[in-house]
Symmetry: C3
Subunit: 431 residues, 3 copies
């Protein structure tokens, strides 16, 4: 059951404002994008807010090393938690390799309970499939196991535990496993992004995700981040962009992109034949599914988000009376006696919450984000959770993933005010 | 969290019976289907329980005018609420135009908080995309903004706010935007219907939808109506019928049609090539998705509904003890002392709820529909929510959308009783 | 609302261990797979844990007889309930027939309330479609009705009530209706499996599913069974296997298979043209949908399950404090004074729950399964609910569906320990 409503009462609504604005991508660039091996011919994937795991060549085998461990994670400034992940991050680093490669993945378990890794979607021997108890013994605390297999396919895949799975997923153990085609892409890709959808029961005022929640979560994330801490998808006008979206949450999320009709081109079952590519603007990415989408970039700043409206906001109060349409003016004065600076809200809608939060009213529980947040070039964006932007510009260099700032829309192409008179015009009404 | 169970206790179950039977479509015809402009060559779409917004030609531009406002809405006789919508209705009127048209849409905001409109699925300049703060300034109370763009596509689309989106969607702000193909349909359509799926947290006994509910809603609607107030889909035998289904709720709804295998032919990403049309009897319409289905009409009265069984009923009691199989006879007498006319229910199933409600027992909370309702030619239909019928007759005139009454099944084609002896026959049993 | 958390408190977590290991399929073989009529040329479908309903030929009509009735059902040893079903089982027996057949289905109602049967996905006269009140009178208690129609199609379909549908589905009334093609399969199938997805609000300590629950269920089943009581899918290496998955629950379940990329080849809308077969490893089976998947069997023991992690476990405690990371050592001693043998759990994860349950600690509420259970060749599998295995061996006889035991993986193909030193290696970390 949700606890989203617990903290939203007459006396306080939402909380710490989140620093917004363009991310300085340069600062994070070095550690997350290791220099590719000169022998690697493929276009590296860009993991939103994430990184790719370096490997070592050992006698013709690419050897990777994952470490399962507890870590401190920040969802956005103002919200952090003790999570579990790999090599210091949730999601863990993306593994990239090439069809035909022999790979060895060492998995060291620095948790206090056993774990395993399942290589979701990858064709391999039964004993390498990673279901603890069924395919292999559990990897106990302190132990390191080796998985080794040859990649017989290419496409978008995942890795995650198959041991105490509900808990270990709930606290952040997951990553992506991208296999590039041996003979290159049939339709060349200019930018290749990936991220994982997830949900977190980080109850307001707490610092550990609660693994017992099944339906009603507090935070909805792309790669364990919420808006506006999620990096934008950046591209140059006319480039072919692929986004690989994987889901290890508890909801089937419909992911919507503004500005284009994208093609759905493949899944964790592989890249589909071109005759099956399907035009959509919203695609459901089911739990345990991956969906690859591709589009030709169109200039502008385009919203890109889950279309479930509660998943593009942060923890919202539930289980309090509905204040919509309620005159709270009397109550207001009473509460002010106890809480100077208090202002009642919600009579005419919730948009004012973001305004008041920014003004410092209504401090909420600690470690809890504002319900709606984010500032754009035209004011409050009033979003959170699974929301980011696709920023397309005419003049970006190939491989430049830095946030280009806000779009400078050509004159006359922005919706604008034509009247401030509410009785303007003669609009038709239903009889 | 739901309050569906709050009012279902031992003393009262469901409430006001809903008037049923064929709708007199004539009465509603005039205001909802404005005479098409003589220059319009397309088959107008039929918005279930809705209407199409008239436009004015201004220097070669089709000018529409939407007004965001608060309004009183009736879900079905016996259930009404203060909602938000456009031009007096929720959903707002359908916008219809033609590929290649230049359109201007004036949006007047008569709400007390700001709003915007996002043109979901439509290809347009970034500044016309309608995300408040990101693409444009918010439309303040009393202000009118103009959106203007040229339609470069055809298909099924939506419009809805992208400002305080969770609240504004929760209380009914949404509409459809149909763009007809410039050169006609490749496969001609005889009847073209559309509607929006939605959910409402209208807690029993209240008159305002609660925007804080994320999962557990009270009312599930087609175009903001519940069965039996939803108009039927009417067609003549052999006609090709298209239904465009859009979803702005918080659930991915699987919509099932009886009697035919329909083809899924397109989405908000456009009409798909014919090689991709997929035969189904149930299609998931994800949140923020549109699905177009097409079928050849077969004579009869066919159920058409969401297949989640709780979504074809109205508010049901939750959080009371399960009465199935419980002998309540002693309690019955005790309660009758306080509530004359009371009858206990639920020991053998819930079907008796509709019967008792019709008899006037168990009045429930005010402004609350019976859990199950509707009467057909053979008795109680025991449905609610997202349920209507497809009524196909051999002798309808083209363009006649009036409810033809109940189907007169040919003799010998109706399931019939062959015995009243429970030990009839010798049915096989699992050993 | 869930009650999954009610019984998981500091004093007790999960309950009765479930007997595991290979099922002796021989014992159950006779009653569930009636000898096919010698005139039947098709490969009979294998209903997981279920059976096929025998028919009688009467003047060229295949006559089936279903009996709607209350029955005692076991989800797995340690969890039983009073359910409703057909002919002694939930799901009811599978009906199998051939395209072109004339079928008559007698339906006897031995419930205390009326019922009907809707033949989901089947093309038939409106009066045979089974919506009570709309298409036919309700079938009263003790009555027998006859449905009769000619099968004009082939594929995977369902049957279920369309009367007091929410209740009657919630307690188990459902079955499959397979129509084999008149002229054989275009791509021959070697093994043909089917099952129904369902959810049950069997609150811990109770014996009747609660029909009022809409979202938060306790048990998630394949053919009304939970792991490890669900039979495995058995096949010989290289065989073409079809699995027909139908969903009459309240969730759209993403079903994942390990080891192969399967093809999605059809639905309750019929078998799709081969150009539309789509490669996946996880397919959402929506409520009221059927999905046929096909794959070439690869040797091994492969997990096959819903990918929502809470649906591969049994009733879990909700609404208690999150114990992850909490030192409970002081509490432990206090509770032991009252409950000798008690051991605190959950500080380092939930995997220890299965271990402790097996050791006899923490007896939970009666009639309640352990949260995680199942033992494999390498130890605890830590699953429940919608989980089973696909067991593929090189040496099975055609038509032998008996559990072959655990897979004997070739030497060197199982993930193995390479170190017990937690500081092993030099794994890269995010800076």
């Amino acid at each position: 059951m949700t606890s989203r409503r617990d903290f939203l009462a007459l006396t306080g609504v939402s909380a710490l404002a989140v620093a917004v604005g363009p991310v300085d991508a340069d600062a994070a660039e070095a550690p997350r994008a290791p220099a590719p091996n000169p022998n690697d011919k493929y276009l590296p994937v860009r993991t939103l807010n994430g990184w790719t795991l370096p490997y070592k060549m050992k006698n013709g085998v690419k050897e990777f090393h994952l470490v399962a461990e507890e870590l401190e994670h920040e969802f956005a400034p103002g919200s952090r938690a003790t999570c579990w992940g790999y090599n210091g991050s949730t999601p863990g680093p993306t593994i990239e390799a090439v069809e035909g490669d022999r790979v060895r993945i060492l998995v060291t378990n620095r948790l206090k309970e056993h774990t395993t890794i399942h290589w979701h979607g990858i064709l391999l021997p039964s004993g390498m499939d990673g279901v603890g108890g069924l395919n292999q013994p559990q990897i106990g605390p302190d132990e390191t196991f080796a998985y080794e297999f040859t990649l017989k396919q290419h496409g978008s895949h995942m890795y995650h535990p198959h041991a105490d799975e509900t808990t270990q997923l709930a606290v952040g153990m997951m990553g992506m496993f991208i296999i590039h085609p041996k003979n290159g892409e049939t339709v060349p890709i200019d930018r290749d992004y990936c991220f994982l959808l997830h949900n977190w029961a980080l109850h307001p005022g707490t610092y550990r995700p609660d693994p017992s929640i099944m339906v009603d979560f507090d935070l909805w994330t792309f790669n364990s981040k919420v808006f506006p801490a999620i990096e934008p998808v950046v591209a140059r006008t006319g480039e072919r962009v692929r986004i690989r979206m994987a889901n290890l949450s508890m909801w089937n999320h419909p992911i919507h992109m503004h500005g284009v009709q994208y093609q759905v081109t493949g899944s964790d079952g592989g890249r589909w034949p071109q005759s099956q590519w399907r035009a959509e603007t919203t695609e459901i990415v089911g739990v345990g599914q991956i969906r690859d989408i591709e589009f030709i970039a169109v200039p502008g700043d385009w919203a890109f988000h889950c279309h479930m409206s509660h998943h593009t906001m942060n923890a919202m109060g539930h289980e309090i009376p509905n204040t919509l349409g309620v005159d709270q003016s009397g109550i207001d004065e009473e509460i002010k006696k106890m809480l100077p600076g208090f202002m009642s809200m919600g009579r005419y809608g919730m948009a004012e919450h973001q305004e008041h939060t920014d003004m410092g009213h209504h401090p909420g529980p600690e470690n809890t984000l504002a319900m709606m947040t984010g500032k754009g070039p035209y004011g409050n964006i009033e979003m959170g959770g699974m929301f980011t932007t696709v920023k397309v510009r005419d003049d970006l260099k190939r491989g430049d993933y830095r946030d280009p700032g806000w779009y400078d829309a050509p004159k006359g192409t922005v919706a604008a005010r034509v009247s401030s008179d509410p009785s303007f015009g003669n609009p038709p009404r239903r009889a």
